[in-house]
Symmetry: C2
Subunit: 361 residues, 2 copies
């Protein structure tokens, strides 16, 4: 990799003081903010008619690569929902595109990878990439968005965690059973560890460069890691995720997120992160106690609750707020992304409900 090819690696962006002292960042650091911050995974997404409008004109990948549009949808979500943090519009699979594995988003079917990793030789053949060049558009999106956002709204950068990225590379897309991924892991352990190391190397560059561009926090999405047993997580994933988090820590808070992770939470905390993501399958109070109060927590509301009545929504918000017990370090979020069929009014109502529930305490 030659520095001269790098398109967007520039001196670190000017820190945005107000954003870095926002209630979201305070909660990440387990300081006590004025109230519980809330943002939502996929808050800029298909549930919003305005987003579908834009998507009717450009493909998903085009939208990710068009920094002006990515900035527009990122800021739009914050304006419309009045949430406490923005997350840059991008996708965890973009490094797979940058690696030349032939990423395509097939309408109605999700991502498809045309040149998946199937053999040890495929791993050996994976070449390092110049993140600044091949993912420079994400740098530009973050730079533009950090300028366009209200001063007090922090911007979250993100990447897929090593296991989740590896699983997409091997499965050639999504999976129910992750049979190809696990069979590779069990049959070719050396190639597996090499693949994870290569992903860590790229992801560390990618995440650090998002901070350079102006990201105020980072989230690592290990969305599918919950398919693993605790011992397999420990053997095949933990050392790599830990290495990655070490390589990006100390600059901005790091959120370590997964789903279906009830039995992995302590190991995920060992791998690192200032904030640990919780899905709805755990009781927030028990999970936090189990993790230790030296970690902040984020999540816990089942995204499908947004499809039910307002009464049910209020009940579930009240439960989560009660379980969090006003302890410093609680960030309200869903356990996974907003579902496409969700009504925008219901999402707005959730944001209001979280605020009102606190005013009422």
């Amino acid at each position: 990799m030659s520095e001269s090819q790098t398109t967007y690696i520039r001196p670190t962006a000017q820190p945005r003081r107000e954003a870095s002292e926002s209630r979201f960042i305070q909660a990440c650091k387990r300081q006590k903010p004025d109230r519980t911050p809330i943002w939502l995974m996929r808050q800029a997404g298909r549930f919003m008619p305005e987003f579908r409008d834009i998507r009717s004109r450009v493909s998903f990948l085009e939208l990710c690569k068009n920094s002006e549009l990515a900035c527009e949808v990122t800021v739009m979500a914050v304006d419309m929902l009045d949430v406490d943090a923005a997350i840059i519009f991008a996708d965890i699979l973009l490094p797979i595109d940058a690696l030349g594995l032939g990423l395509e988003y097939v309408k109605g079917e999700g991502p498809l990878i045309h040149n998946p990793i199937r053999l040890a030789t495929d791993v050996a053949a994976l070449k390092p990439i110049d993140v600044g060049q091949s993912l420079g558009y994400v740098y530009k999106s973050i730079e533009l968005t950090a300028r366009a956002l209200p001063k007090h709204i922090p911007l979250i950068g993100f990447a897929g965690a090593p296991f989740t990225l590896a699983s997409y590379m091997i499965e050639a897309g999504g999976s129910k059973t992750f049979d190809k991924t696990k069979s590779f892991m069990y049959s070719e352990p050396e190639a597996w560890h090499l693949l994870m190391k290569k992903i860590v190397d790229i992801s560390a560059q990618y995440l650090n460069f998002q901070v350079d561009a102006g990201a105020d926090a980072l989230q690592l999405f290990d969305s599918w890691v919950g398919c693993l047993s605790p011992t397999d997580y420990e053997r095949f994933v933990l050392p790599h995720t830990k290495a990655l988090i070490e390589l990006v820590s100390g600059r901005v808070p790091v959120i370590h997120f997964g789903t279906g992770t009830a039995t992995l939470l302590k190991l995920m905390a060992q791998a690192g992160g200032d904030v640990i993501g919780l899905d709805w399958r755990v009781n927030l109070a028990e999970a936090w106690l189990n993790l230790g109060f030296d970690k902040a927590v984020q999540g816990n509301l089942d995204p499908t609750v947004l499809l039910g009545t307002r009464e049910e929504l209020k009940l579930q918000v009240a439960r989560i707020m009660k379980e969090a017990a006003s302890r410093p370090g609680h960030i309200f979020n869903l356990g996974h992304g907003v579902l496409p069929m969700t009504s925008p009014d219901q999402v707005k109502f959730l944001v209001e409900t979280v605020r009102n529930s606190e005013a009422a305490q």
Copy 2:
């Protein structure tokens, strides 16, 4: 329902003494068998060339409804794999077919339900069925199989648990997010509870009639219940599953199975069952301690381990046997069904490995 229409309700089958004293049944009752029993979910399935042969001639539903063939594949699996229990060849969705909701198995896509439950009025319109008539072929399959099996091999009957059946009825098939099911549950709680009650009523008849036919144990498959939060399980599922288990208990041992249930295990034990199913996401020793040793446990091996090396397989079997610590009430099984791409030799090797690991102790 008129008794005269009943095709297969006959006096209870003659108990098979040897089967009812087999090591599998002893383990269900937390007695100490001569060695740890093993059987595998989907042990009669697509991974076997002989099964694919039969399936090339008849559809899946035809195979379920042809008692002679269902008996043949059930017995064949026991003969070929030398496992300690048989499970009747059938499907958890057969009562959905019996209810007239238009069940179809679409090649490569899984089950499709043509007339799903979407409205409260759909629930109200669900009519009771004569289980003896509409599912009489399952009675006949069990009766034939109980006669055809070696005397010492117990036969397991089964049904889908209320939540999992309801989810299929509402989603019209499988789902990743169970958004329609949960949205129905949250928006139409009364209709939800009525639906669950109707399912309990049918399932209790269906399971008791399997015991009448000669089943030596029963397994309740709550395969997808792990998508729920513990509080939602408690509110929307537990009372119904508990009612069902009460209605079928006391005759033969009941196995209560689910996947992704790490945080639901104690509640599932409260709902009932002599044996609780464990998937691979939990540590067996911790899960059993948490459940209490007054329950037997079954499962824990990740089905994908059968896709790896024999070395890896031996390692994982040894771990499970060590965690079970020769405590009475451990049934070796996978955490979910054998995957179709599994090699039959590897499955046989697993059965041998479990036996040898004990001989070596």
